[in-house]
Subunit: 348 residues, 2 copies
């Protein structure tokens, strides 16, 4: 049968209480006793029963990380950074924590369900990554859930997601709007006047913010936007490919294409090439995020670098209470424009 605390206690000739104290190390235990206990633990190959201690202590060492798509490096990088700070094994933090990465697939229901599951596990903290969904009822439900989690003592941190007022959640928000503006301004500065924009899914805050930044830039430079210049799609390569063809169909005179993110931009590049257009000679292309592969595109992608790993690490530390939350519980994280080969002045 499975070895229990009591077995260890018996073997070490001490009470279960003592064994527990040795294992948790927060109560004075004489060195000799401790040693005896440790020896028994080792000999019996004892492994603590997680659920039992969680129940008794009313705390758990699980930390939830919600991501839209773990197969996407955008989330993978953040998750990795968060997890490193959570201090799974190897982390410097004392107690070993288990990071639970939950893949919502961008679905509102799953987002909520995962939160419930985490609440059920009495998670020590929860980090939500990536943009939120802009649906009033869903947002209300999420906020209520977050509030409840926070009330139950779970630390809630938003990483790359807009603040959720009144929920007690700490927010590290990406300045998508600023990045979008800067990127488009760069293109305008190069002389572009007819810019296509491949946006992400309509209902995501990230999509809206980046698009707003783009439009802000256009407006600031007196460029009137043509409704045909914006196409919505998903945040993936395929979508970028198709959207670009659509854009080209609508207005073949576009001299630049701004994509919702790097994957979309790569798809755009492929579509342009397949259409016989050269980058950046005929059409400039810009992405967003600066994922690792973006520099390997040919030509290398001009994009806005988001400090994914840094933000994730910070979110992780805050979740662990190892770093103070930003003032007001909200911090904006800026992106950095990376100008590379995929953008240049228009031909005409």
């Amino acid at each position: 049968m499975t070895v229990t605390l009591a077995d260890v206690a018996a073997r070490a000739q001490v009470s279960p209480a003592t064994v527990s104290r040795v294992l948790n190390g927060n109560y004075p235990v004489a060195a000799s006793t401790r040693e005896r206990v440790l020896k028994a633990v080792d000999e019996l190959d004892y492994v603590l029963n997680g659920p039992a201690s969680a129940l008794a202590a009313a705390t758990s060492d699980l930390v939830g990380i919600l991501v839209n798509d773990i197969a996407d490096p955008f989330f993978g990088i953040m998750a990795s950074a968060i997890q490193a700070e959570i201090g799974g094994p190897g982390g410097r933090a004392g107690g070993e924590r288990l990071a639970v990465v939950c893949n919502t697939g961008g679905s509102p229901e799953r987002e909520l369900t995962y939160l419930t599951l985490l609440q059920r596990q009495r998670a020590a903290a929860v980090v939500l990554t990536g943009g939120a969904i802009e649906d009033a009822p869903h947002k209300a439900a999420m906020d209520a859930k977050l509030r409840k989690l926070a009330d139950a003592g779970t630390r809630v941190v938003l990483c790359g997601r807009p603040p959720a007022a009144e929920t007690g959640a700490i927010a590290l928000t990406f300045d998508n709007r600023g990045g979008g503006r800067e990127l488009t301004e760069h293109l305008i500065g190069l002389g572009h006047r007819r810019l296509g924009y491949i946006a992400g899914p309509l209902e995501r805050t990230t999509t809206r913010h980046r698009l707003e930044g783009h439009r802000d830039a256009l407006a600031a430079h007196g460029i009137e936007e043509d409704a045909r210049w914006t196409v919505h799609g998903r945040y993936d390569r395929r979508s970028g490919y198709e959207a670009t063809l659509e854009l080209l169909r609508r207005d073949p005179s576009l001299t630049a294409v701004v994509a919702a993110n790097d994957s979309v931009a790569l798809g755009a590049c492929a579509a342009l090439r397949d259409s016989g257009l050269r980058i950046p000679d005929d059409v400039s292309v810009a992405g967003f995020d600066d994922l690792p592969f973006s520099i390997d595109a040919v030509p290398a992608l001009t994009t806005v670098r988001l400090p994914l790993a840094e933000a994730g690490a910070r979110a992780g530390r805050i979740a662990m209470g190892r770093e103070e939350a930003p003032h007001g519980g909200i911090a904006s994280v800026r992106g950095e424009l990376m100008v590379r080969g995929s953008t240049a002045g228009p031909r005409d």
Copy 2:
């Protein structure tokens, strides 16, 4: 305070046992009673206490997924597929399970520690992805651990990892050797006779298998390998870049470079370009895995496609007991050679 089962029972005017049974749904409960209970649950906003039920039922709904690097799409894709099958929220499987993605960072200790943590949580299943580490003591420790997990009722599945004999683990192994052989044979078929090989870290089984396949192919065609043609590095772009420069330094007459995986291949491409060499005109390049971005390289990468998502899904189903394990507990998953623009006949 927090709402407990008893509170719900009181409100619904039934015993705690009945509430539990309604919630777990595996015991006959009259429809009217069930309704009353559900109503109370809803009204009180009750959330089951995970640790408590895990303790009482001696089972948990946690499933561990061990990956080397969650930021790497190779693992991200598998993790995503596994998770989808595990049936987190939205999964068709009945009980909702929480996937715990553990990032080992390729470290043996962390691998082991995570396994202990999972054992502590009494995980329902554990899926280990990617190659194993070839260190006898570590392998022994891992096997012992896996054996223990299996004995405790945790289903253990290896996905893309060599079988671990006598541990009771089901293995879905990638045929890295076969893929490596096929890839190099393709190059040889094109006429290449001087092939550089950028291998991964020495201590990984994946590295060895792919390299062995490469050498098998060389041997089969009577090509004597020059020791200078193999360089070891990490499985990342950077490493590929540096290794390629090293390879070029050692033997500038190489006409092809075979990389340990696609990221490395991308780095190799960059290094070649930076060295003024054209791909594939001057040097052919081949990768491995066929990650999504590989097709976007210019020229598109010739590589061996590994059915990551399919294998992950299968592993997930097996872990959930939703699919029968392969005969003998071991199945080999083949890769498929994808010939694209980055390889062509040598110039001379």
